[in-house]
Symmetry: C2
Subunit: 109 residues, 2 copies
Amino acid sequence: MPIQTVHDTARAAEIFQALSDETRLEIIAMLESGERCVCELQDSLGAAQSRLSFHLRVLKDAGIVSDRREGRWSYYELNRETFDDAEAILKDLRPRRQRNEGRSGECCN
Amino acid sequence: MPIQTVHDTARAAEIFQALSDETRLEIIAMLESGERCVCELQDSLGAAQSRLSFHLRVLKDAGIVSDRREGRWSYYELNRETFDDAEAILKDLRPRRQRNEGRSGECCN
DNA sequence: TTGACATATCAAGATTTATTGATATATCTA
DNA sequence: TAGATATATCAATAAATCTTGATATGTCAA
């Protein structure tokens, strides 16, 4: 079904917005194979601590990752469901027909 | 295959960035069923002309739409290939294993 | 031609997002 | 306990993005 409600569109924009930054995409790539602690990400990405923390929060607010505290460490992992949502949204946005079809005669007035 | 090059990550960020705005998602939704002229989009979206033009350019620069001039009208349509790319990118980003797997022992020193 | 129309672009300001350095909060270890 | 460590948050600035109104460009029709 196509995107219909304002709510859906807002949610779609939120997810894509979270995915629209190279640093965050690198974080996601690192989490692909499983949970990682912040310090591991920091070492691999060479990003300043507060910067990394900022991007992790954007990802978390968008539901793309979730975190877990263990002692002084925080572990982050990807949320499958959100990736499912993103795929579904993208499928909705896909062009449905062949090029140039679906036009309703001439445009404008 | 997972995203590897800077180039791929930059391209992924560019596509998601273009998809990260509600107005642009609405434009895409309108183009789903085929080509539309700018004035049709304008009527349906109730967006100021220069604003619409701005968003169409963002979509075009990201390769999500292409345009065609016909007399004084411009027609825009979705580019299938870019949606294919987006789906492929999203599949690459997807978590691969079950939760909590793939960790390499304790973190940090 | 001249004027109306469709669209793009531009300049200015508003809003959002990202980066940096500083500080706060827990938790661990000596 | 005191100091070290891991992380989050905050404040200030920088940079990017969006909106608006004005102007430019090309095309059509009278």
